[in-house]
């Protein structure tokens, strides 16, 4: 369960293989269950590989970014639903 410096925690299912699937995230002591992953894609920035997930909870669409090099997660809210 990697943790960011902002206190974001993300619950992840690893596998099968190298697959990573976030299932919940905890932000500011509030747990958000991920209802749907609408899209995910891989991006390379220099030496860093990033995995982007667009996820939906009950109220909003978020972008979760997993840094494969550092093992850190970042989160950005895209919009309320």
């Amino acid at each position: 369960m990697p943790e960011t410096k902002d206190g974001l925690r993300v619950g992840v299912i690893h596998g099968p293989g190298n697959a990573i699937k976030p299932v919940w995230f905890d932000l500011n002591r509030r747990k958000h269950s991920i209802r749907e992953i609408t899209n995910c894609w891989r991006e390379r920035r220099g030496d860093t590989a990033l995995l982007h997930f667009h996820v939906v909870d009950e109220g909003a669409l978020y972008e979760l970014i997993y840094n494969l090099t550092s093992g850190c997660w970042l989160l950005e809210q895209i919009e309320s639903l």
């Binding site: 609408t38 899209n39 991006e43 982007h52 669409l61 919009e79």
Partner: protein, 409 residues
């Protein structure tokens, strides 16, 4: 100049998908959206129906043969235009350069948006995710250096695809591609090119420009460039679109008709639709044109110049009736159209005659009610028993705000 980044976004099975979202019982089912009930063809089919071989343009009979459990839904144009307008608003969050190509397709120039959003890939996924999360719909996106290739790319992966054609890949992608796959090369042009021995884009791109020009005139050179994947056309947002010079509507009738009274009732409907649009554009027109198509598809138009420019539905109706009464119809009619042209600005002048003032006030009040509650919420009593009012076709001129630039002569 840096390489342009153009997106073409194509909503997947748009009408059918909107119906499936608005009625959960239809989700996962083979669904086809159809037009009017008696003369109907498949307008679009859900991907579940397509897997049975149901295609756009099939008759109901053909479609039911392919898929007996097919669920039919009557087209709901108001719903589709409403959803489309929401989608276009999402596009505009990523660039002001949005060209609405049709109700379910648009081009976006995102060249200048990368600094804000990071990458074109991220913009594409943001758009896809927001549409999916908010509306439950999927789209296919093509990204390329120009509109021609972006449209081609969006067709390559359906549904829910994201396809890039990068500048260095253009030659490889086009070499074996059949020319008919390019947007802008229709069946007729394809046959003519085939007659010259041209079947693939690669062959078209290498063909002699002089020969193509000799065979096709000015578009010959353009065809060669298309074969090379070259397209300099800009993404043109709504406010820069070519001006509208006429306001018109037409409708294919549920069944062929030949009596004047029935034709007159449809003309009243069409005149109301034309009048409503003319008033929204703030224009009057001096020329009224009536178009008729006979049962054997013979089509002709007759026009009449008015003494004064007109814009009220009743005036347009009277003018179209005068044209109708000057004709001797040789066959039953299957299509009617009414058009207003020679447009000019409508001055909001104070009408002196109380009768004229009352008419104008009544007209404005009716427009307000119909704006709020939908077309034909309030109408002439003679239209009350007409079923399925409206043309049932989303005009190619449809735009999210409903208004295009208007040219005045």
């Amino acid at each position: 100049m840096s390489q342009r980044l153009i997106m073409h976004i194509d909503m997947n099975a748009f009408f059918a998908a909107v119906e499936q979202q608005s009625n959960p019982a239809l989700r996962g089912q083979p669904v086809a959206v159809v037009g009017s009930q008696q003369r109907t063809i498949i307008l679009t089919a859900s991907y579940e129906a397509r897997s049975f071989g149901v295609k756009t343009g099939m008759t109901l009979f053909e479609a039911r043969q392919k898929c007996p459990q097919l669920q039919l839904v009557a087209a709901n144009n108001r719903l589709y235009t409403h959803v489309s307008a929401q989608i276009i608003e999402i596009f505009r969050d990523y660039t002001p350069l949005v060209e609405v190509f049709s109700i379910d397709e648009a081009f976006l120039d995102v060249t200048g948006s990368l600094q804000i959003f990071g990458s074109v890939q991220r913009i594409a996924y943001l758009i896809k995710s927001r549409i999916k999360a908010r509306l439950g719909l999927t789209c296919s996106i093509g990204v390329a250096p120009n509109k021609l290739l972006a449209k081609l790319a969006s067709d390559m992966q359906k549904p829910d695809g994201l396809t890039f054609i990068r500048p260095e890949e253009v030659g490889i992608v086009l070499e074996e591609l059949p020319i008919g796959e390019l947007c802008g090369i229709g069946r007729s042009t394809e046959h003519k090119l085939n007659a010259l021995g041209i079947y693939s884009c690669g062959q078209l791109g290498r063909y002699s420009a002089a020969t193509l020009k000799g065979r096709f005139g000015v578009i010959g050179e353009r065809l060669k460039l298309m074969g090379q994947g070259v397209d300099a056309a800009a993404v043109i947002p709504l406010e820069q679109e070519a001006e509208v010079k006429t306001v018109g509507h037409s409708m294919t009738l549920r069944q062929d008709i030949d009596d004047r009274q029935s034709i007159a009732r449809f003309l009243l409907q069409l005149s109301e639709m034309v009048g409503r649009r003319a008033r929204r554009y703030g224009v009057l027109g001096k020329t009224v044109t009536l178009t008729l198509r006979y049962a054997d598809f013979t089509t002709f138009s007759r026009q009449q110049v008015q003494v004064e420019p007109i814009g009220q539905s009743e005036e347009i109706y009277r003018a179209s009736l005068r044209i109708l009464d000057s004709l001797i119809l040789e066959q039953p009619t299957r299509l009617l159209g009414v058009r207003l042209s020679s447009l000019q600005h409508r001055d909001r002048q104070l009408l002196l005659l109380p009768e004229e003032r009352r008419k104008q006030q009544l007209c404005e009040s009716l427009d307000q009610v119909n704006d709020r509650h939908g077309e034909f919420s309030v109408m002439s009593a003679s239209l009350l028993d007409v079923k399925g009012k409206g043309s049932h076709v989303i005009s190619p001129a449809w735009r999210p705000e409903g208004i295009r630039n208007v040219s005045f002569s």
